[in-house]
C-alpha cells in the first residue's frame, strides 16, 4: 500500500505517494529527478549514493524513502548556492580529485560530513572519513589532497 511522504530535499519540501519498499536512492533519482547521487554497488559498500539525511551522510541505497518522511535530504545538487560551488566541490575541481567522476557525488558528501565534524583532519583521518566510499579509478591521492585543501579553505 502506498504511503504519503513529505521530504525537504535541497531546501524544497515535496509530497509524494510511494511504496514502502521504494529505496531512497530510487526515490531521489526516479521520482525527484535528482541523478547526482549514483547507484554503484547497491549493497551499501561503495558510497556512490551518499546523501545527507538530517545533516548526516548516509547511503541512500540502504534506506527506504518512507523512512525519510518529515526529514531533510541534501544531495550533491543542493551543495552549491547561488551559482557558487561548495568549498569541497571547488577543491575537488582544483585538485583534480576525479577521473571518471562516478564516485564524486558520494565522495564529496562524505568529505563534507568529515569536515563538518572535524574541520582540520590529518591525512589518516581523511582516509578514515572516506572509507565508506570507493573510487573505482583508485584516484585516492588527489581526493585526499582535495579534502585537505577544502579544510584549509573552510577554516580560512
Amino acid at each position: 500500500m502506498k504511503r504519503q511522504i513529505s521530504v525537504t530535499i535541497n531546501g524544497r519540501t515535496r509530497t509524494d505517494e510511494v511504496e514502502p519498499r521504494l529505496l531512497l536512492i530510487h526515490y531521489l533519482r526516479e521520482v525527484c529527478g535528482l541523478t547526482g547521487p549514483h547507484i554503484g554497488c547497491e549493497t551499501s559498500l561503495c558510497g556512490a549514493c551518499t546523501v545527507e539525511f538530517n545533516g548526516q551522510a548516509i547511503k541512500s541505497c540502504t534506506m527506504f524513502a518512507v523512512q525519510a518522511d518529515g526529514g531533510r535530504v541534501t544531495t550533491i545538487e543542493g551543495l552549491a548556492s547561488n551559482g557558487t560551488l561548495h568549498p569541497v566541490q571547488e577543491a575537488f575541481w582544483e585538485e583534480h580529485a576525479l577521473q571518471c567522476g562516478f564516485c564524486t557525488p558520494g565522495m564529496i558528501m562524505a568529505a563534507k560530513q568529515l569536515l563538518d565534524r572535524n574541520p582540520a583532519p590529518d591525512d589518516p583521518e581523511i582516509r578514515h572519513g572516506i572509507e565508506g566510499n570507493l573510487c573505482r579509478c583508485t584516484g585516492y591521492q588527489n581526493i585526499v589532497a582535495a579534502v585537505r585543501s577544502a579544510a584549509a579553505k573552510m577554516s580560512a
Binding site: L23, H26, T43, S44, Q56, I58, K59, T62, F64, G132
Partner: protein, 285 residues
Amino acid sequence: MIAQDFNYSTPATIEEALGLISGGEAKLLAGGMSLIPLMKLRLAAPGHVVDLSRVAGLSGISEAGGAIRVGAMMTHYEVESSALVRARCTLLAETAAMIGDVQVRNRGTMGGAVAHADPSADYPAALQALEARVTIAGAAGTRVVSVDEFFVDTFTTGLEPGEIITGIEVPVEPEGTGVSYQKMLQPASGFAIVGVAVRIRKEGGVISFARVGVTGLGSRAYRAAGVEERLAGTAGSASDIANAAAVIADGIDANSDIHASAAYRAQMARVFGARAIQAAVNRAA
C-alpha cells in the same frame, strides 16, 4: 535489488509497537543496516515492517547507579561521540568507532546490531568483556538479560517473538582500567574476521581484573575465561600475555569462510588477542 512489498508502520510508543508485533509476522526496523540489505536480497521478506525510529523512550544515553544505559535506537555515531560514553566506558565508544564506515555508523543502531547478532559484529566482543545487560520490553513487562545469555548462536538471540530491545546497560568503568578493542577486519565490509575486546585492572603491579570478549571466531561472541584466568595475578609481561592469548580459541568451533579458514581465524584470534591485551595493559594505571 528491490525488496518484496510490505506494509509499513511507525508507532509512537513501545506499547503501540508491542501491539503491532504481537502477531509474530512483523519485523522490527531500527537503523536498517542489516535488515534492509537482507530485504533487498530477499533473504528476508517480512509482510509488515515496524519502524522504531519514532518510538519514544528508545533514545538517550544516561548514567545511573554505576551503569550507563544506551537507548536501543542510539546510532553507533551517537555512541562513539557521546562525551559520557567516551569518558566513562571508553571501550564501548572505541568499539563503536570501529564499526563499518561513517555512513553506516550514522544510521546503524546499537539495539539493531545486538538484535541481529551477527557473529562478526564488533559490539558483542565489547559487550561480553563489559558483562553488559540487555533490557527487553514485552507484553508481560520488562526483563533484563546478561549478554552472555542473550547471544545464543549465529543470528540467534534470547529475544522472544513479540519483544523489543529497549536499551543496553554497561558498567561505569573504574578509574585506571585499561581497555582495548583490536580487530582484523574484512576490508570490503569492515566486519571483524576476529575482534578481541579487553579490560584490565592492576593492583600492586599485578593484574587484578581481566575481561576478554571475542567476536568473529565462533558462532557467537564469547568471554574467553581461560585467558582471563591466565592473566590474573601476573605482571602482564609479554610472555604472560602470549601464554594467556594462547588459549583464546580453546574449545571454540571456529568459523571458516572465503575470508579465513578456521585454523587461520584461531591463529588471528591469538595474535589480535595478544595485541588487545598488551594495549589494555599499557593503558591500565
